[in-house]
Every structure is written in structure tokens, then in C-alpha cells.
Amino acid sequence: MTEIIWGLGTSHVPSIGAAMDNEKAQDEYWKPLFDGYAPAREWMAENTPDVAVIIYNDHANALGLEMIPTFAIGTDDHFNVADEGYGPRKVPNVRGHAEMSEHILVQLVNDGFDMTVCQELDVDHGLTVPLSVYCPEPGEQWPCQVIPILVNVLQYPQPTAQRCLALGEALGRAIRSFPGDLKVAVFGTGGMSHQLSGARAGLINEKFDREFLRDIKENPERLAALTREDYIREAGSEGLEMIMWLIMRGAIGDDIERVHETYHVPASNTAAALTLFAPVTAS
């Protein structure tokens, strides 16, 4: 049967991608962050998935303000890297898995999650930076196919954290019911605490972040019970992105161990973190 072999929570700050693209990862500013990634990267490189389901948000690159899907899934077998205004990142375009994404779509809708369907989609830094966190040097081709799942975190009302956790649980069931014996990784992206605009720009709340990192494993129900206002007040207007980690957590389930965790301030305007989970039953 298809299995979920790991779950990754990671920030998707664009400057993390830019640091890699411009060979600045060993600079004094960036080295602590990338050193923190190293053990997780080594482990993931030895446990490669066939497909990565990446939960992220678009940042005004593929989706405009005409329509704001709360949850959406990309169903194509190819996704171009978006031009965000500076030319596309110099990373490979992304290969989809149309058959599995259709299966996930149908299962989710049958399970009560009425997903918007993106039959064409350019993917921005929200998706490609996490891929680079997993695989810093992909060469000509990313090492896995990708299914994008998009969440509206930019405009109120975003989905509740509770709904994100529930979607994750349904996503886990959908992935595991896909015929065959593929190995799948699930990425929850965004965060940690940060706020880009307003008088509170530059907000970082390490206490909230540390408790989130602890409870994303130990007590996701507590995180799911927090309101959108809680997230905005504590983690900042953009820190609310962390609700997307709950989708990953719901998908991978409760029987997990933490392979690695790292937390670093700052990545430009943001607290950055990575946490890597594996099922305890996995070898």
C-alpha cells in the first residue's frame, strides 16, 4: 500500500531560496540556519519519497484577488516555476502526479472537503523553497513528483486551524488508499512567527514558536483549538501560516517520532524552523 514515510514542517521564506540560489548559504548570516537543516537533509536524502504532497500558500503569483480558494489542489502533471517579478527561480520546473492528485481530490471531496481544482498552476516560493530545503542541489530534475495543496492564509476568513487538522487527517487517508506501493512525504510549510506590515512589523515570538514546535508533535489538538485571532496576535499576521503545518500533522498521524528539529531567528523578517517526523513503524 502507499505509505507516508515522513512529514516535514518548514518555513518557506523567499530569502532562504535566494540565499541558496545566490550561493550565500555559507555566509555568516545564513550559515546557522543551513547548519541546522543538515541532519534532516542527510536523513531525508536516505529516505527518498516518490511523491511529495506540499501544503503551501501562493503569494500573489499564481492566484490573484479575483478568486480566493480556501483549499485547492493542483491536478496537472507539470507546474512551472512562477516569475514573481524578478524572473523565475533558477530551479527545475515541477513534475506532478496527475493520477494520485485526482485520487486525493476525489477522496477529499467524498470525505466532505470540497477542494478547488487548479488544472493549471505556476508554483511560487511557497512551494519551491521547501523543495530546496529538502533537496538543495536537484540538478536537472527534482527527485520526486509533487502534488500542490494550496491554503488561503492571506485574506480573512482563512480556514480555522481545526479545519486544517481535519483536512490533514482526510489527506492521510486519501494518500494511503492510493493503489500501489508508492512512498509519499507530506510538507507543511510557512511560519514561524512573523509580521511584515503595520506597527508590529518585525514581530517574533519565540515562546509561542517553541510551544508550537513542541505541540505540533505532542498536542496538535491544542494548536487546532487556537483561533485565527490567537495566531495573528501571538505569531503575527503572516505567522498564521503555521496552520498549514497542522495539515501535515493530521496526515502523518499520531504514531510518530521526531527525527530532527531546528529553530533560527532571523531569516530576513521571519523566525524560521524545521521539524521532521517519521512514523515509528518505519524502518
Binding site: L65, G85, Y156, G202, V265, S268, N269
Partner: protein, 118 residues
């Protein structure tokens, strides 16, 4: 704001009302993804604003690069950053402007662990 939108001091909680108010500005900013449009904007900012139907307040904010006013009038940070890019301004430059600091001081605060609002 609509009645259910959370109110958090010092924070823009972007919602449908804000989005509708700022739509011409955000559409203009989105268009700046294309390099040909960037050239046209730089060539005649006033005409470009008219093309996207900015009202007088929005246009004034754009022409004067009044970043706080752009946000007050419904600009989304993820859109106006595309205008900032034309001026070679980073998110950290804007952070300094939003908080009344120099860019250097804003960056230094982040490197010292970020700004706390307990």
C-alpha cells in the same frame, strides 16, 4: 472591516472590505510581475495609475510612495512589495518604514531576536 474580522493592534488583518478598497492598487501591483509593464510604469507612472483606475487617494499614495497609506487604503503587503521591488526596496526597507526605523536598525532588531509585543 466586517464585524467578525479580528482586530489586533498594530496589525492589518486583511479581509474582503480591505481587498475591495485596494483592488485597483493591487491589480496595478500584480501587473508589475511582467517586465514590459514595469517599463511602462516607470515611463509614465501617472498614466499607468489611470489605466488601472486608481482614485486620487490611491494614486497619490503610489506617486509619493506613501507605503503606510497604501496599506491603509487596502493594499496588500504581498502586492505592494512588487511596487517596492521597482524602487529596489526590500521587505526590510518597508519594515523600517512601517516602524519608523532605519532599515539598518530594523535589521539589527531582527538579528537581536525580533520585536516583542507581550
Amino acid at each position: 472591516m466586517t464585524s467578525t474580522t479580528p482586530i489586533v493592534e498594530g496589525t492589518y488583518v486583511y479581509d474582503i472590505v480591505q481587498s475591495k478598497r485596494g483592488r485597483p492598487l493591487n491589480r496595478l501591483c500584480l501587473s508589475l510581475k511582467e517586465s514590459a509593464n514595469r517599463d511602462q510604469f516607470v515611463d509614465d507612472e501617472n498614466a499607468y495609475c489611470d489605466r488601472f483606475g486608481l482614485d486620487d487617494d490611491l494614486k497619490k499614495a503610489v506617486l509619493e510612495r506613501d507605503w503606510v497609506q497604501m496599506l491603509d487604503l487596502g493594499g496588500s503587503i504581498f502586492y505592494i512589495i512588487k511596487l517596492a521591488a521597482i524602487d529596489k526596496k526590500s521587505m526590510q526597507d518597508l519594515g523600517g518604514i512601517f516602524t519608523g526605523m532605519t532599515t539598518e536598525d530594523f535589521i539589527a532588531e531582527l538579528r537581536a531576536g525580533g520585536r516583542s509585543f507581550d
